[in-house]
């Protein structure tokens, strides 16, 4: 292997090494949660440096099965940010409940390594391996509080539907491979040139349908979302935060590598499915979220709605003529949305975690009563994250929604109808996000309200999430060139 090739896989190897190092540290100094936290945080910051150093010049590794291009670069930064934020705010939840930190951090990093493998995969089999490496630790994390009935119940539902969808996805992958004759993404795209429409063989059509439904399960698009609310509500809160962002962004990375790169020649065949999925996912996610009284369940349905918004970006790519500015804008919007969503959603979960820092605090929205007065800073931050999730300027969420909606308008045709649906949905979503704000500022706190935790990792995590949410909204230019370069890497 040349130096360039070693550098290309360095971030991936580094994260796996860090996960192993955490297990070893725990073996030498058992139950030292503080040490584990320090090693994990310092390691992830170094990991970000490694990603910046490795950059993304398009070096292919293992005969082209893994590539480090600008998209890999962008996604690696997002995945490491997810891991870093989660590990910063997790200890405040885990410690009071006696849940060990070392296994949590190690399992999380193994999952992140799977996500990073997907981000750079240029081979169908590597994509599948990355997907499994991502979801298997995810099932374990969902059931992390193994003596808690809710956690294990969420875990088994997540596991059963997750492996069911993996099997469907794999069947689609096998057919695609069998009929195109290659596992390499680039070769699949070449083999599919000109077979779209009536030229599509039955085998490929079955493969495409199975791949679409398998992926729809993974991103929790309606009607393949049934596992989401239970898995999110049951999981320990920091795990819910991770699950709502990590596997979702990684599944979109899978879509980018598979549908946008390998199956792009067939896009006329899958664009309709994506348009319909996007419309019903946004609408149903938001409508059901309106009726939730449990904050984690509400944020679960809200995350389903956000899947819908991200799908609008994908639909804009697929609906616009190949090579048009709208096609690229759709992909840029999707990537920007993924980054913005990472910070605002993990921020909201960080506040929920701070609130649940004492055992016995439930996940009911009523626990937010009077938060604006008894913990002014947490109240302000939660309001910021909720406004961003709603899409109010000048937050990251506003800019992200504007990006995908404008791309959909430019794409024209059926896709521009999606823009209207998205705007209407954003208005409906304001009701349930602002309901939490109403609880925080217009209700009296109960007399037995527990104080919030305020450890330094929690503060650092909240600060980082708030910084991202504000910065991407006020100065989107800090990230847009990176997203543009990543989108260009996908287009021929």
């Amino acid at each position: 292997m040349t130096v360039a090739e070693l550098l290309a896989i360095a971030p991936l190897v580094f994260v796996i090494g860090l996960a192993i190092a955490l297990v070893v540290v725990d073996m030498i100094r058992p139950h030292d949660d503080r040490l584990i936290g320090i090693v994990a945080v310092v390691g992830l910051v170094v990991g970000l440096e490694v990603v910046l150093l490795a950059n993304g010049d398009g070096t292919g590794v293992f005969g082209g099965a893994y590539v480090r291009d600008r998209l890999t670069f962008f996604l690696d930064l997002v995945f490491l940010a997810i891991a870093l934020l989660t590990i910063l705010f997790a200890p405040d939840y885990l410690r009071p409940r006696g849940l060990p930190m070392a296994e949590f951090a190690a399992t999380l990093l193994f999952a992140i390594s799977g996500a990073m493998l997907i981000g750079g995969a240029r081979d169908l089999l590597v994509l599948f391996l990355g997907l499994e490496l991502l979801v298997l630790p995810g099932y374990m994390l969902a059931g992390y509080a193994k003596r808690d009935g809710l956690s294990t119940e969420g875990a088994i539902k997540y596991f059963l539907l997750g492996s069911f969808s993996s099997a469907i996805f794999l069947f689609g992958l096998a057919f695609t491979w069998g009929y195109t004759g290659s596992t390499r993404v680039a070769d699949v795209a070449v083999a599919l040139q000109g077979v779209t429409g009536p030229g599509l063989s039955a085998g490929l059509a079955i493969g495409l349908a199975l791949l679409t439904s398998g992926v729809a399960f993974k991103i929790a698009a309606v009607p393949f979302h049934y596992w989401t609310p239970d898995a999110y509500q049951g999981s320990p809160t920091p795990v819910t935060g991770y699950l709502s962002v990590g596997p979702k962004v990684a599944a979109f990375a899978l879509i980018l590598r598979l549908f946008v790169e390998a199956l792009a020649p067939l896009k006329a065949d899958w664009v309709d499915a994506i348009v319909i999925l996007a419309a019903i996912t946004m609408t149903l996610g938001n409508l059901v979220a309106l009726t939730q009284d449990n904050i984690k369940r509400m944020l679960a349905y809200s995350s389903i709605a956000h899947t819908g918004y991200m799908l609008v970006g994908l639909a804009a790519f697929a609906g616009a003529p190949a090579g048009s500015p709208a096609a690229q804008a759709g992909l840029e919007g999707l990537l920007f949305y993924a980054a913005a969503y990472t910070f605002m959603n993990l921020g909201a979960f960080a506040v929920v975690t701070a609130l649940q820092g004492r055992t016995g605090v439930t996940s009911q929205i009523a626990t937010f009563a009077g938060l604006g007065r008894r913990a002014p800073l947490a109240g302000v931050l939660m309001t910021l994250f909720l406004l961003s999730l709603t899409g109010i300027p000048p937050t990251a969420g506003f800019f992200a929604k504007a990006y995908v909606i404008l791309a959909a308008v430019q794409a024209g045709g059926w896709v521009s109808v999606l823009a209207v649906v998205a705007v209407l949905n954003a208005a409906a979503a304001a009701f349930y996000y602002l309901r939490v704000v109403v609880w925080m500022y217009m209700r009296e706190a109960p007399d037995d309200a527990q104080p919030l935790t305020d450890s330094w990792p929690m503060k650092a995590g909240l600060a980082a999430a708030a910084l991202g949410t504000v910065l991407f909204g006020l100065v989107p230019g800090v990230i847009i060139p990176t997203a543009q370069a990543a989108a260009q890497a996908l287009l021929p």
């Binding site: 499994e132 298997l136 059963l160 491979w177």
Partner: protein, 103 residues
């Protein structure tokens, strides 16, 4: 018919359908896990069939089939661990009795 790629693919689709039906119809978590294994094996049959009938796929097929087996084993391990964890909490393997969370 009996010696063509299509007949093997049809058999694999049938096996996959049996697995899917089992997953949707059975209420026992272990039986659902077994149905998923059946689905993965159906995929493997399709992969091996492609390898046997299409000469250019022969090399890839055996590697992919081995990887799928390894992944299936890993999945079963995690799945059984979760089933044991929930059995200790609930004393039942029947998924329709796992109803602590409702709308």
């Amino acid at each position: 018919m009996s010696q063509s790629l299509d007949s093997y693919l049809a058999l694999s689709a049938l096996l996959f359908a049996v697995g899917t039906f089992g997953f949707l119809a059975r209420r026992n978590a272990i039986a659902m896990l077994m149905s998923i294994e059946l689905m993965l094996n159906a995929v493997n049959l399709a992969i091996v069939a492609f390898g046997a009938f299409v000469p250019s796929l022969r090399g890839d097929a055996s590697v992919i089939a081995l990887v799928v087996m390894a992944v299936a084993a890993a999945e079963a391990t995690v799945g059984l661990a979760i089933v044991i964890a929930i059995y200790r909490n609930r004393r039942t393997p029947l998924v329709d009795e796992y109803t602590q969370m409702r709308e």
